[in-house]
Subunit: 606 residues, 2 copies
C-alpha cells in the first residue's frame, strides 16, 4: 500500500471522527464539549500546554509541577500561600515534590528530614541528618526552582510530626541555593520526560512563612498551633493532599489502557493468520485465545471509565461544598483502591496487547512498549499498590466497626446472623444455573464476597489482637493476603456497580444493549477470576462455576466484533494513536502500516 | 556508606563465591566444572566470546548468528554444507535467519517467498512476490553476510513446500548483493544488541548447492528428491530445527528469572519499612505480601532448572545416538511447552521483582527494567507461546489416540472406566485434609488434571469433528481455551515430576531438606492456581482447597529466609549481578547501594 492510499485511509478515519457517535458522547460524559474542544486543539497541532497553562515546561513534567508541587500548595497551604506559590508555578518557575526519602517511601510517617524552628531569626532550618533522610526520586530535581519538602517539624527539640515546607532549590538562572545538593538518578525504565534525582539539605534556612500552614503553623516566638489536635489525624489530613493526584494517575492508567486496546483490537481485526484448510486465513481476532485475552480488559476499561467519573464527581461535590477531603475517608479509600486496581489492570492489559500484537507490538513505532514502560511505575509510586489496598481495608474496617456500634461482641453475633441469611439466599442462587447470566446475580455475588471477606477479616483481627493479645502489626501482617483480597473485592464491586448504573442510565437503546453485554462480561470476568473462592463458600456449585466459564467464553466471542466500535468510540484523535498497525500511517515506519479495519458488522450489511 | 566499605562487602561476597556450596554444585549439575571455568573467565573480565568462539561480533548477536543461522545449517544442511557454512560463521562472516514474513509469522507453512529452480543455469531464483512475503524482524539484517532463507521451493511451477536456502546478502566489505534490499525496523522495547530489519529479494540468483539438502535436494536437471515423502511431515521435520533454539531460549528465560530473584530477594532482606509500634522497622521480606509474591517464583525457577536439564539430556542422548530430532515429537512438544511456560513465568517473575523492589526496581542501574524489556519478546518469538501450547497438545492428542489403539469408540469406553476409577480414588484424597501437604498428593493432583483435560479434549474434538462434522479448524478453535489449559497442565506436571526426582536424588541431607520445601511449594502453588478446577471436579473439597491456601502461605513464610541461600547458590558471579540494591557496588550509581544482607539464620546462630 502506498502512502497516498494510507493518507486516504487516514483522512477517512479523521472524517469519521468529526461526528462522534452517541456512545462516544456517553463515554465522554458531562464534559464532552470541553473534551471535544481539547481534541480539536490537539489534532490541529496546537501544543496542549499553551492553551491550558500559558508558558509551561514541556508536557511530561506537567504532573510533577502542577499535580504534585501544585497539589501540595493548594491542599496544604493557606489562601495567601496558594496565591504566592501556585499561580506563579504555571508561568514563572517550576516546582517539585519532595516527600519520599531513601529510608522511607511507603512509610511516610517515618521520614527523617528535619525542619527545626529558630525563633531568633524566625527561620526553619531544613536538614538531612543521615543518608536515609535523602529525598529520592524527586521529579524535576535537576531543573526545578522550588520544592515542597516534607520534614519533621521540630520546635524546642520536640517533633510535631511531618509538615510541608517550600524550599528554594535554584534561582531562575539555575544557580543552586547554598546548602542544597541535587544528584541525578539517571536512567529509568520509562517516564523519560521527567528527570529524577536526590535532594540533600545541609542546614538550609527558609523563612517561617514557608511552612504550608493549613494544618499547622508556628508563631514568630515559636508556638505551634493546628486546627487538628491529634497528631495522627493531622498526618492523615496532610496525606489526603495526595488524593487528587492518585485520581489523576487512575485517569492516566485508563488512558494508556484505552490506547493499548485501540491498537490491539484494530490490528486483531486486520491481521490474518491460520484458517480452515484451503480457505483464506482468518482475522486473528477470530482465534478464541485472542478474544479471550483482550475482551475482558476492554470491559474493565469501560467499568473504570464510569467508576473514575463517579469518584471525580464525588470529589468535585465535596470540594464545591467546601468540604476538606481529609474528612472524607471513604472517598480517600475509594481513590486509593481505584489507583491500585486501575494501574495493575492497565499493566496486565498492556501486556496482553503487546503479546496479542506479536512482533509488531514489540516495535516502538507501535507505541505499546513505551506505554508499558511509562506506566509500569504507576503501580509503586504515589502510594505503592499494596499499601493502597491496606488504606482501603483500614477504612472498611472502620466502617464495619461503626456499623456494629463499636460493640465487637454484639457485632459478631449480628455478623453470624447475617452470614446465615447470606448462606440461605446464596445456596438458592448457587443451584440455579439460569441465573448466572443475570446482572443482579453478578452484582450480588461480588457484593457477597466483599461482605464475607470484611466480616471474616474483622473476626480474625479481633481474635488475634483482643483474644490472643498479638501485637497489631503482626496480626495485620499475618492477614495481609486476606487484606489485599478484601480491598480488591471492594473495588471490583464498586466498578461493577458503577458500570451497571451507567448502563441503566444510558439513553440510547443501541448503546444500552452494547454496554449491557460489556457490563455482563465485566461481572462474569470478576466472578470467574474468583470462582475458587465462590466454590469454597458454596456460593457457586461446580455446575454453576462451569456455567460461568462458558458464559465468559461466550460473552467474549459475542463482543469481539463490537469491540471495534467501542475502541472507535473512545474517540482518541488519530494523532494521539499514531501506531501504524492501528491504521494510522507513520512516515518513519511505513513497513508497519496496516490499513484500518472495516467494521465486520457494517461490512457484512453492505 | 563510602566506597571502600562497599568494596569490602564486594570482596567478601566474591570470597564466598570461590567455594561453591554443595547445593550450588547440585544446581549446576553434571557440568559444574565447565560452568565454574566459565564463571572464572567472566569474573576475570575475559570476554566470553573470545574464549568460546574466537573472533565474533559482539555478544547479543551470538544467538542470531550461531543459534539461528547456525542451527539452520547444522540441522537442515548436509555434512558438506555444515563444513562450508557453519564453521566459518564463527570466524569469517556473520549469518542471519530469515523465516518470518510480514504475512506469516506463526503460520510458517504459509510463507510466500519463492525459490524457483532454473535448470539452464542450475540456480534458484529467490524472489519476494508481494509485500506479505517480505522477510521481517531479521536479526543482524543491517550487517550480516549470509541469510538462511525459508522459501517455497518451486520446480516447473510446482511447490515442494518450504525449504531453507543460503542467500548471500552482503560481501565482507558490506556491499549489498544485487537484488537484495534491507530496511531497518529501528527501535524496539528491548534486545537493543541486535538490529532487526526487513529483507526483500528481487530475483536473486543463488547456486543449486545453496539449498540446505538434508530434507530435500534438487538434481542438476531439476528432479526433486527427499528422504521424507509426505510433504507435511517434511515440513515438520524442518521446523524441528528450531527445537534446540527454543531450549536455548528457555535457558535464557531461567537465567533472567534467577537474576531478577537474586536482586529482589537480597534487597527484600536489606530494606526495612514499617514495623511494630516503637520498634525497628522490619525487613520488607517479612511482609506477607512480599514473600507471597516472590517465593513461588523462586520455587518455579528451581523446578525449571531441573526440567530444562532433563530436556537437554534427552536431546543430547537423542543426538548422540544419531537420532533425528524431528522423529522425537514428544521431545519437540516438551521443548515447545517449556519454552512457553518458562518465558511467561519469567515475565511474571520479573514483574513481581520490579514491583517488590519499588522505585529502586524501576531504575536501570538495578537491572530489572532491562531484563524485563529484553525478555518480553521471548513470549512471542521463536514460536508464539499460544502456538507452542498447541504444538504440545497436538502431540498429546496423538499419544492419546495411540494409547487407544486408534479405536476412538473403544477409547471412549476405556476413558470412561478410567475416569470413574480416578473419581473414586480422588474423592478419598479430596476428603482427607492431612494429605494435601504430601508430595505424592500434589504429584497425583497435577497428573490427574492433565489426564482429565486430555481425555475431555479428545472427546470434545471427536464429537465436534466426527459427530457434528465441524471443520477441524473451527472445532479446534472453539476448544482453544481448553487446549492451552491442557498444555500448561502437561508442562506443570512435568516440572513438578522433574523437581521431585531431583529432590529424591539429592545426596546431601541438608540440601535435600531445603529442596523438599521448595518442591512442595511449587506443587502447592500449581494446585492453588487451579484450585477452582479441582473444586469443580470434586478433587478438592472446599475444606481441602482452603487447606491448600493455608499451606501456600505457610510454605512461603517457611522458605523466605532460606531464599537467601538459594539465590546465593545460583552462583552468579557478582560482575553479572551488578545491581547496587543487591549489594554489588556500582560507581555509576553509588546512591543505589545496599550492603549485601546477612543470612538471617546464620546471623541468629552467632
Amino acid at each position: 500500500m502506498d502512502i497516498s492510499q494510507q493518507e486516504r485511509t487516514y483522512e477517512t478515519s479523521m472524517a469519521d471522527k468529526s461526528t462522534p457517535s452517541s456512545l462516544a458522547r456517553y463515554l465522554d460524559g458531562e464534559f464532552w464539549e470541553t473534551k471535544d474542544h481539547i481534541r480539536e486543539e490537539i489534532s490541529q497541532g496546537e501544543p496542549f500546554r499553551t492553551m491550558l497553562f500559558g508558558v509551561l515546561p514541556s508536557g511530561p513534567q506537567l504532573g510533577v509541577v502542577c499535580g504534585l508541587f501544585g497539589g501540595a500548595v493548594t491542599n496544604l497551604g493557606s489562601p495567601g500561600q496558594k496565591k504566592k506559590w501556585y499561580l506563579p508555578v504555571t508561568v514563572c518557575f517550576t516546582g517539585m515534590f519532595a516527600m519520599t526519602e531513601r529510608g522511607h517511601g511507603s512509610n511516610v510517617r517515618g521520614i527523617l528530614t528535619e525542619a527545626c524552628y529558630e525563633p531568633s531569626t524566625q527561620e526553619f532550618i531544613i536538614h538531612t541528618p543521615c543518608e536515609d533522610a535523602q529525598k529520592m526520586y524527586i521529579g524535576n530535581s535537576m531543573k526545578g526552582n522550588y520544592a515542597s519538602v516534607f520534614a519533621q517539624l521540630i520546635i524546642n527539640g520536640d517533633s510535631q510530626g511531618p509538615h510541608c515546607f517550600i524550599v528554594p532549590i535554584r534561582d531562575r538562572h539555575g544557580v543552586m541555593n547554598p546548602g542544597v545538593t541535587a544528584i541525578d538518578m539517571k536512567h529509568k525504565e520509562g517516564l523519560h520526560g521527567v528527570d529524577n534525582g536526590i535532594l540533600i539539605f545541609d542546614n538550609v534556612r527558609i523563612p517561617r512563612t514557608n511552612l504550608l500552614s493549613k494544618f499547622g503553623c508556628v508563631s514568630a516566638d515559636g508556638l505551634y498551633s493546628s486546627p487538628v489536635q491529634n497528631k495522627s489525624k493531622r498526618f492523615n489530613a496532610m496525606l489526603a493532599a495526595l488524593t487528587p493526584t492518585r485520581l489523576g494517575l487512575t485517569v492516566q492508567a485508563i488512558a494508556a489502557m484505552k490506547l493499548g486496546l485501540i491498537i490491539a483490537v484494530r490490528y486483531s481485526h486486520s491481521r490474518r493468520q491460520f484458517g480452515p484448510k484451503d480457505q483464506q486465513e482468518v482475522k486473528i481476532i477470530e482465534h478464541q485465545t485472542q478474544y479471550l485475552r483482550l475482551m475482558p480488559h476492554l470491559a474493565a476499561a469501560l467499568a473504570l471509565t464510569f467508576t473514575t467519573r463517579f469518584a471525580a464527581c464525588t470529589m468535585d461535590h465535596a470540594l464545591c461544598k467546601g468540604e476538606v477531603l481529609q474528612n472524607n475517608s471513604s472517598l480517600q479509600a475509594l481513590v486509593a483502591g481505584l489507583k491500585a486496581y486501575s494501574t495493575w489492570e492497565n499493566l496486565a492489559c498492556l501486556q496482553e496487547c503487546r503479546e496479542c500484537t506479536g512482533g509488531m507490538g514489540f516495535m516502538m513505532e507501535n507505541r505499546i512498549p513505551a506505554l508499558k514502560c511509562d506506566s509500569d511505575v504507576f503501580v509503586t509510586f504515589e502510594g505503592d499498590n499494596v499499601v493502597m489496598l491496606q488504606v482501603v481495608v483500614k477504612e472498611l474496617m472502620t466502617q464495619f466497626t461503626r456499623q456494629l456500634g463499636n460493640s465487637v461482641v454484639g457485632g459478631l453475633i449480628k455478623t453470624w446472623t447475617s452470614s446465615v441469611s447470606d448462606r440461605v439466599r446464596t445456596s438458592f442462587l448457587g443451584f440455579n444455573v439460569d441465573t448466572v447470566g443475570d446482572m443482579s446475580f453478578l452484582l450480588k455475588a461480588v457484593s457477597y464476597r466483599e461482605r464475607v471477606l470484611q466480616r471474616s477479616l474483622a473476626t480474625r483481627l479481633y481474635n488475634k489482637v483482643k483474644k490472643k493479645r498479638e501485637e497489631f502489626f503482626d496480626a495485620w501482617n499475618s492477614c495481609l493476603h486476606h487484606v489485599t483480597g478484601l480491598a480488591l473485592a471492594h473495588i471490583h464491586r464498586v466498578t461493577l456497580e458503577q458500570f451497571a448504573l451507567a448502563v441503566q442510565e444510558c439513553p440510547v437503546e443501541e448503546d444500552h444493549t452494547l454496554l449491557t453485554k460489556f457490563c455482563l462480561l465485566h461481572g462474569t470476568s470478576l466472578v470467574y477470576q474468583e470462582r475458587a473462592w465462590y466454590l469454597e463458600h458454596h456460593y457457586l456449585t461446580p455446575a454453576t462455576s462451569r456455567q460461568i466459564r462458558t458464559q465468559m467464553l461466550e460473552l467474549c466471542r459475542l463482543v469481539k466484533d463490537e469491540a471495534l466500535k467501542v475502541v472507535s468510540d473512545f474517540n482518541v484523535p488519530s494523532c494521539c494513536i499514531q501506531a501504524p498497525i492501528a491504521g494510522v500511517a507513520n512516515p518513519r515506519a511505513e513497513w508497519a502500516f496496516y490499513s484500518a479495519p472495516e467494521h465486520p458488522i457494517r461490512a457484512s450489511k453492505l
